[in-house]
Subunit: 168 residues, 2 copies
DNA sequence: ATAGGTGCAAAGCATTTGCCGCGGT
DNA sequence: ACCGCGGCAAATGCTTTGCACCTAT
């Protein structure tokens, strides 16, 4: 029988080790926080969650770690408007984001065709597509207009951003 | 016979007047710079061009004006990576941008279908699409592989970004 | 042992803002 | 005349960094 939870090496810690990164206590904690995150936290939020597990961590370290992991391709930086960078682990194939402009919640979705299309456009312009980004900003539909949608009319969302500041 | 060039009211000045904005000397200059711009300048660049026409302008005013015009829907803010906001006049229907990651040059292109597609996706997720953004980052193709393209193999580009700083 | 990591506080950058005199309408 | 505008410099907010100490490897 093996102890589960906090004791086990996190997915991201594994990736760090694989790339030969020195694993310090704070990196282990940050790696865990990132591995457990199911949303798109910004540095402040990561710092909050990390210090909750081990208070011997400074924001500077979170910034440094997050930058390092991004350079190593373990993390991806996102900009959903609001001035702060948000992070998510690189993994489960490309997906895109739709941001609820009223609540700040982020919905992920896939669009297999999209990347292919973008690649074609780039080629047509004489370029090889290296990367691309796309974000949708929307407002939840007031389901006044009859048309009943397939499933529950409240699609899964994730984290709120900020109470009500404008984007900049 | 009418004097042309600097003396005439610029396109953006017209828009400002139409929306009842008070037209000061500095706004007139900034409006002209924006009207004449065929690229996507950042605030620093706008400031440079504006002071070249009339030195009695401060960066603060450029920031204030650019923000005001964005709120009025006359300008659109862009983020091509690099930490500074870039601006372009709202006009000639939606188009997208492809950024040459080696030179920083920006190529504009259209994709009529795209917006429609994004709108559909949003609806499928239970949202009304309010806005969306998309940028492609690419590298000019080394035209080794035979396939001759239609026209000149050097598509039109515009402005360089910055000599060689990393995106952040 | 030793290259690299960390905390702390100061520095950096792009952008915003308070204050107050000045200029459009 | 009046309200908004612009200059200046200080303030902000996120992120980076210099320095001296500490710790994985």
């Amino acid at each position: 029988m093996v102890t589960v939870g906090e004791a086990m090496e996190s997915r991201i810690e594994r990736l760090c080790i694989d790339r030969g990164l020195k694993m310090t206590g704070q990196r282990r904690v940050i790696a865990r926080v990132l591995s457990d995150a199911e949303d798109h936290p910004d540095v402040e939020e990561l710092y909050r969650r990390a210090t909750a597990l081990d208070s011997r961590i400074s924001v500077a370290t979170v910034y440094r770690t997050v930058r390092l992991l991004e350079e190593k391709g373990i993390l991806e930086r996102r900009d959903f408007g609001g001035g702060r960078a948000r992070y998510e682990a690189t993994e489960h194939g490309h997906h895109y984001h739709l941001i609820d402009i009223d609540t700040g919640k982020v919905i992920e979705f896939e669009d297999a065709e999209h990347e292919h299309l973008m690649r074609q456009i780039a080629v047509r312009l004489g370029f090889d597509l290296v990367s691309h980004r796309m974000e949708l900003f929307g407002r939840r539909r007031s389901e006044v207009a009859g048309a009943p949608r397939t499933a529950s009319s409240a699609p899964p969302a994730d984290e709120p951003i900020d109470g009500g500041g404008k984007s900049r």
